[in-house]
């Protein structure tokens, strides 16, 4: 479906009349991002997670400059792919190897592509994890216990989030 909201249409009109106005350009970019299919899908997938409210919510977008918004618009499709694959990596891939510094920079396409290349879903496992689709970005949290040793005990880990490489 492709349609613009009335707000989007209004700012499109403003931007033609007031070409140099930064706030109009910014508002138009925000409308554009929020109507992007990828942005809406990201909201659906991680809308309840801390990262979304801290970095991608409408309020947060309003804090960004035109340059940042432009970069975000370019990065979003790959970032959506990265986020989707992260969930499967936690359940069946190499999610147990992710560190906080692996989390991609949402303004850099290279950073997102680099992270995508680290995800391995070719070798599959049935990982032991208490992480769910509601909180899977916590895999990047250093407090989350991660291990590539399938014999690691999970019973002692009930109070923390964990992702342990599984066996077949």
């Amino acid at each position: 479906m492709s349609f613009k909201s009335s707000t989007g249409k209004l700012y499109t009109l403003f931007s033609v009349c007031i070409t140099s106005d930064e706030s109009v350009r910014r508002r138009l970019l925000i409308c554009e991002i929020m109507e992007m299919k990828e942005y809406r899908e990201l909201k659906y997938i991680i809308g309840n997670q801390q990262f979304y409210s801290e970095r991608l919510s409408e309020c947060e977008l309003e804090r960004l400059s035109c340059e940042e918004l432009n970069k975000l618009r370019v990065t979003l499709p790959d970032f959506l792919e990265a986020v989707s694959q992260t969930y499967y990596a936690v359940l069946y891939g190499n999610g147990w190897s992710f560190k906080s510094e692996d989390f991609p920079d949402i303004f850099s396409r290279d950073s997102v592509k680099n992270f995508l290349s680290k995800i391995n879903l070719f070798d599959v496992y049935l990982n032991k994890t208490n992480i769910t689709e509601k909180d899977f970005l916590s895999i990047f949290d250093d407090r989350t216990f991660k291990s590539n040793n399938p014999s690691d005990d999970i019973k002692a880990r009930n109070d923390v989030k964990y992702c342990i490489k599984g066996e077949l």
Binding site: F3, S6, K37, R40, Y44, S84, Y88, L121, L168
Partner: protein, 308 residues
């Protein structure tokens, strides 16, 4: 009756036609009931993908040792073979499980991707629909019409236009020509062996007009029921028929088709109508029906209700 068709087949065809004819005659009474108009549910996916399961059990070493107890050299030789066999079975088990898990992940990814896309589109539509955005209201109206079950053989195409300022929805419907609707109906009527050609034609003409007008009334009813009164207060319906086959390919309601009837009603006026007891033609007349005299005459047409 076709001489090449067996009596059994002929009987089946007639039974099928009777069922279909009844469906056509009940177009109005088969309109979706308010509780069946769960449009959002039809757009969303709520199912979850099943969890991975692999039924085969891991090879049990003791099963491989049950081949008998031997002593000395033979025992050593056989235990080496047994170990090898057991390891092969373990490897085979892992390879097969991995293959099935990969297949499972691939299918789950596709399922979740489709689910996300559909639910996001539904949310987006819902949000813009509630705000009365033109495209969203039109898309929603299209979904309502597409959810309505008509006889399988009925060929229809439609386009909806929403005017926010007037809270008006105009529906253009491309309907079948007489010949397309009644291809086999003559067989059924002929079977009764009591009808003259003139009476048959009259029955067909009435049936055709009644069907087309019923589709119009039913569409208006379902749209009034499904769309909030805050968004739509008036509905106009234009019934078109094709003037040639290419009309079905490019549905723009500008060429290759002629408008043969139109109706218009406010929500209040429509709420007085009893869909189940009143005759379709009588209902249509109360909805400002404008029509050509003969639906099948290619020279007759009226000006459709314009989209503002």
């Amino acid at each position: 009756m076709n001489s090449g068709i067996s009596a059994e087949e002929d009987k089946k065809n007639i039974e099928k036609l009777i069922i279909e004819t009844n469906e056509y005659e009940n177009i109005l009474s088969n309109a979706l009931k308010p509780n069946e108009l769960s449009i959002w549910e039809s757009l969303e996916v709520n199912e979850s993908y099943p969890i991975f399961s692999y039924d085969a059990s891991f090879p049990d070493k003791s099963d491989y040792l049950k081949t008998g107890v031997m002593s000395g050299f033979m025992n050593k030789l056989m235990s080496g073979k047994i170990e090898e066999k057991y390891n092969d079975a373990c490897l085979e088990y892992k390879i097969e499980k991995q293959r099935l898990l990969k297949e499972y992940i691939y299918n789950k990814v596709q399922f979740e991707k489709d689910k996300t896309e559909r639910n996001v589109e539904a949310d987006f539509l819902k949000y813009h629909y509630k705000n009365g955005e033109k495209t969203a209201v039109e898309k929603y109206a299209d979904t309502v019409i597409s959810c309505s079950q008509y006889p399988e053989s009925l060929k229809i195409r439609y386009k909806t236009y929403y005017t926010r300022t007037e809270k008006k929805l105009t529906v253009n419907f491309l309907l079948p020509e007489l010949n397309d609707l009644l291809t086999d109906r003559g067989i059924l009527i002929n079977n009764k062996d009591v009808l003259t050609e003139t009476i048959l034609k009259k029955i067909e003409k009435n049936f055709y007009e009644r069907t087309l007008i019923s589709i119009g009334i039913r569409t208006m009813y379902e749209l009034f029921e499904a769309i909030s009164s805050e968004l739509v207060r008036k509905i106009a319906f234009n019934g078109y028929v094709p003037t040639n086959e290419s009309a079905w390919e490019n549905i723009d309601f500008s060429g290759h088709m002629r408008c043969i009837f139109s109706m218009e009603s406010t929500r209040e006026k429509f709420s007085d109508i009893n869909l189940y007891t009143e005759e379709p033609l009588k209902i249509a007349e109360s909805l400002n029906l404008l029509r050509v005299k003969n639906f099948s005459d290619p020279m007759q047409l009226i000006a459709p209700i314009k989209v503002q």
